[in-house]
């Protein structure tokens, strides 16, 4: 996926939203910037299929040598698929954050909003201020 076409949360998760049979499905992951900041990943706690998640709330964790960070859901809905292979290949998150490094697919609740998320340009601006 093209980083420039994704939506981003303040907490550095990306989302790619598609529509299928009238349902909105968000594929989500962690931005390259965040992975670069974390470095030395050692462990990841993924959400579970069937889990209800809320935008801005923790649904897992990403642990590096230095520190542990929450993985926040960028959208509200139900987890319908999880990329479980990541647990044993954390390097994928850094090598291919927007394709092979996807973390979960979330079916948005009816009327679920993605208006809070930033476009690439706004996210870049936030990163340059954080970095």
């Amino acid at each position: 996926m093209n980083a420039e076409e994704l939506l981003y949360s303040k907490t550095h998760e990306w989302a790619h939203v598609t529509e299928r049979d009238g349902e909105k499905i968000a594929t989500i992951g962690i931005s390259a910037f965040a992975i670069e900041q974390l470095t030395d990943l050692v462990y990841m706690e993924l959400p579970q299929t069937g889990q209800a998640v809320t935008a801005g709330e923790s649904m897992g964790e990403v642990e590096s040598v230095k520190a542990v960070s929450d993985l926040y859901s960028p959208v509200t809905g139900e987890v319908i698929d999880v990329n479980t292979s990541l647990v044993d290949s954390l390097e994928t998150l850094g090598k291919d954050p927007y394709d092979a490094g996807w973390i979960a697919k979330i079916r948005l609740v009816d009327g679920g909003s993605i208006d809070e998320l930033m476009d690439f340009e706004a996210y870049q601006k936030q990163c340059s201020e954080d970095g």
Binding site: T39, D40, V42, Y43, E45, E61, E63, V65, K66, V68
Partner: protein, 373 residues
């Protein structure tokens, strides 16, 4: 730590170099220090296999000189200084009257003659003000002077199997003949360098104290001469290295509420026919129950125990983690912590409460890593 939030961070002479070479800078004890340049794991493994250089200029450097320095330091420290030979370096503790640890320090004996005894002492950055005040408040300061050299000097640690050879070539001094925990003064161009075979990584290596104004030049020349064999490493790797080496860090394994026996630092206390601050309290402690003791933990899983996480036995909290990390050498999470004596035996099964979930661990002998394998 005495640094307030509004205080501007202090900078070492190498600050600009760190910033312009990818150093991720963070506040450490009131100093802006590089935590890492590339990756903590890469810097850690490079130290174990080749050599790394660490800017440790944030540590305080104090000099004591004069006839009264012997008796003053003998009373201040848990080990004697008066029987040290010139060039010897000794790890020691400074205790309060209750035998709580105020700091752990390295003492260098740098000169001796009839009128002059001369020592240097390296103090933790976070304890710089506290120890300065402590020294100033002690009686018997007439026969010697003490000078704080922290601002006009720099200090760097070069650590790893290739470290001594690289520094030897740079200084053109036979550092390989220097025994472990010994120091020597070496001239580098017109600058005087105090070089010691010491370190905080579990590797062979040396630490250098040199004038602040030549620190960057020395640092850059060493990197250039090393041709990839020696690289800059940050305090992140320094921490994972010292945890693997089972070395205590003040503020984590050591504090004013811990005594040396609990910390397993009996070797750093000499009680034989001598008096020092904290001795009376320490005798009473040794005669009774020592209380919680320092242990090493190896975890079964991948989640990393961090400072202050509870250590659990049979569902009950029995102590706290003081330092924890993911060991790049063992590729497993490791930790140090304090527990009651009934849980300290090697192979004891314990758990660590990692953010609400219990993770299995077992007690292992410290250190986690020795360079001899």
């Amino acid at each position: 730590m005495t640094t307030g939030p509004s205080t501007e961070l202090r900078k070492t002479p190498l600050f600009d170099w760190h910033s312009s070479h990818g150093g991720k800078m963070a506040d450490f004890a009131g100093w802006s220090m590089p935590i890492q340049y590339s990756s903590i794991v890469e810097e850690h493994l490079h130290t174990r296999s080749s050599a790394s250089m660490f800017d440790v200029s944030h540590m305080a450097r104090l000099e004591f000189r004069g006839a009264g320095a012997n008796s003053f330091l003998n009373r201040l420290l848990t080990r004697r200084v008066d029987n040290m030979k010139v060039g010897q370096v000794r790890y020691s503790l400074i205790l309060n009257q209750q035998a709580g640890v105020l700091d752990d320090v390295l003492v260098y004996r740098t000169a001796i003659d009839a009128r002059h005894s001369c020592y240097w002492m390296v103090v933790n950055a976070g304890n710089h003000q506290k120890i300065s005040s402590w020294i100033g408040s002690q009686p018997g300061g007439e026969d010697f002077e003490w000078i704080d050299h922290t601002a006009e000097t720099a200090m760097m640690a070069i650590q790893g199997p290739r470290a001594v050879d690289l520094v030897k070539a740079q200084l053109q001094a036979p550092l390989d003949e220097l025994k472990y925990y010994h120091s020597t003064r070496v001239a580098w161009d017109d600058h005087m360098v105090l070089a010691s075979r010491t370190g905080y990584t579990g590797e062979d290596g040396c630490e250098l104290i040199l004038p602040a104004d030549c620190a960057v030049e020395f640092w850059m020349q060493l990197i250039a001469a090393g041709n990839g064999q020696v690289k800059a490493a940050g305090l992140g790797a320094r921490d994972t290295l010292r945890v693997e080496a089972g070395m205590p860090l003040y503020g984590h394994e050591l504090s004013e509420t811990m005594n040396p026996c609990q910390a397993g630092l009996g070797f750093a206390v000499n009680m034989k026919n001598r008096d020092f601050i904290g001795r009376t309290a320490l005798e009473a402690i040794k005669a009774g129950a020592i209380g919680q003791q320092r242990i090493g933990l190896l975890l079964d899983g991948r989640r990393v125990p961090r400072t202050d996480y509870p250590i659990i036995a049979g569902g009950e909290p029995v102590g706290l983690v003081t330092s924890g990390t993911f060991s790049p050498t063992l590729e497993r999470p490791i930790a140090m912590g304090y527990v009651q004596p009934e849980w300290v035996a090697v192979d004891t099964r314990l758990e660590v409460d990692i953010r609400g979930r219990l993770e299995k661990a077992k007690v292992v002998k410290l250190p986690f890593y020795t360079r001899d394998g």
